[in-house]
């Protein structure tokens, strides 16, 4: 899967490079939006300690974003709000709690998260049909970690601080179209943690995410 991401990103950057070479001769072609909104489908793969909790990737996610270009620059600031769920079945495992408690059962785990992030991006060619960008999201996530055993639902809710460096590209459907697509790939680091079993704290949950969505550009 990582190879696919790398190939995809190289392809997007290459497309941007080709556009950049054309820019000198077709400078009047296209427009630079003043802002845009995006709505995308988000997939997630857990990393590090998060992967010990749930190793499955998850396609169950959505992202809503907005960016506003700052003055005449290639920088844009905005927000991302996301909804994401990851889940996995596990065979019988033993959890050790406080005060001599132990529980062995088949369990079903899921984490539900709603990140809220402020973001700042740099767009290499915002007036072109394909504009690669790099960005950074900073904010917080609301997460619920659930451990389901029979009809029991043991869960913990936590807010965290998170950082999300991202690379991606905006692709207009036409040089002057208000509509386009967005492809983004990011790595996310959070201060969130999971501690269902005594002595086993899964901390600094991390993940990589791929987002594909639609954009609406404002001039």
């Amino acid at each position: 899967m990582k190879k696919i991401f790398i190939i995809l990103m190289i392809g997007l950057l290459f497309a941007g490079t080709v556009n950049a070479q054309d820019e000198g001769t077709k400078s009047s072609f296209g427009y630079k939006p003043s802002s845009y909104y995006s709505f995308g489908w988000n997939t997630l793969w857990s990393l590090g300690d998060f992967n010990k909790w749930i190793s499955n990737g998850s396609p169950a996610g959505f992202n809503l974003g907005g960016r506003y270009f700052i003055g005449g620059s290639n920088f844009a600031a905005g927000f991302n709000i996301q909804w994401q769920r990851v889940w996995q079945d596990y065979p019988q495992q033993t959890f050790y709690g406080d005060n001599g408690v132990a529980l062995t059962a088949m369990n079903y785990r899921f984490t539900w998260m709603v990140p809220f992030q402020a973001a700042i991006d740099y767009y290499f060619m915002p007036s072109k049909m394909v504009s690669p960008y790099i960005g950074l999201g900073i904010g917080g996530d609301y997460m619920e970690h659930h451990l389901l055993i029979q009809e029991l639902d043991i869960y913990k809710t936590r807010w965290d601080f998170s950082l999300t460096p991202e690379i991606g590209a905006l692709i207009k459907f036409g040089a002057f179209s208000n509509f386009g697509a967005q492809v983004a790939f990011n790595y996310k680091w959070t201060t969130n943690y999971i501690d269902f079993s005594t002595g086993t704290k899964l901390s600094n949950l991390q993940m990589i995410q791929l987002r594909i969505g639609l954009c609406y550009f404002l001039r």
Partner: protein
């Protein structure tokens, strides 16, 4: 343009609201046996050697407690005896001044919600399977338990006769094996769950 912008925002909100955060869980969750144990961390199980155990399993139904002597009950009792003996304990008769006593019950009632404190005494139709001649039991620790007992929960309780308080015996270990009748389980499944209850409580081992 405003309409399109609002449409995007509305779609986003709709997507978030319409998608449940709860995934569809596997039905196997309800069918599987779960083993919950808790022991008194202030009890040194190594100090004791002799134990006694009830001669059969007590079934707790909506109509009261019923002593059931059957081949299956004996298999469960024998499995507990096997585990205790493997930990170095010696089974003796009730009259032989045992250090520890073990009760075994199976809840066969419909789902009833019970809460601590007082759950033990307030349970409808439920009284201890064997008081061993004492004035009752008490928990020296705050017991972790399922707040809602379903039918088909096996309860194993170990009491300490050497630490009486007001003529009551403390429960120093309890094991709940849950899900006995939510699916077809073989005797081997249940004896395996009994073994697991002991496996996850390594403190139960005599030093004598």
């Amino acid at each position: 343009m405003k309409i399109l912008r609002l449409t995007f925002i509305a779609l986003g909100i709709l997507a978030m609201v319409s998608c449940s955060k709860y995934p569809t869980s596997s039905s196997r969750l309800l069918e599987d046996l779960a083993v919950l144990t808790q022991y008194d961390v202030n009890t040194n199980f190594g100090l004791y050697k002799k134990y006694s155990i009830v001669d059969t399993v007590y079934y707790i139904t909506d109509k009261g407690t019923q002593k059931v002597i059957s081949a299956n009950s004996q298999i469960l009792i024998n499995q507990i005896i096997g585990n205790m003996n493997a930990r170095g304990y010696q089974k003796v008769a009730k009259s032989a001044n045992p250090d520890l006593g073990i009760n075994v019950s199976v809840l066969k009632t419909t789902t009833t919600t019970v809460y601590y404190p007082g759950w033990y005494w307030g349970y409808p139709g439920y009284y201890p399977s064997d008081w061993w001649g004492y004035g009752g039991y008490y928990y020296p620790y705050y017991p972790t338990y399922y707040s809602s007992y379903s039918a088909g929960t096996m309860i194993i309780e170990m009491v300490n006769f050497k630490k009486l308080v007001d003529n009551k015996v403390p429960v120093v270990w309890n094991a709940y094996i849950r899900g006995l009748i939510t699916d077809t389980h073989t005797t081997s499944d249940i004896t395996g769950a009994i073994d697991q209850a002991f496996t996850q409580t390594p403190s139960i081992k005599t030093s004598l």
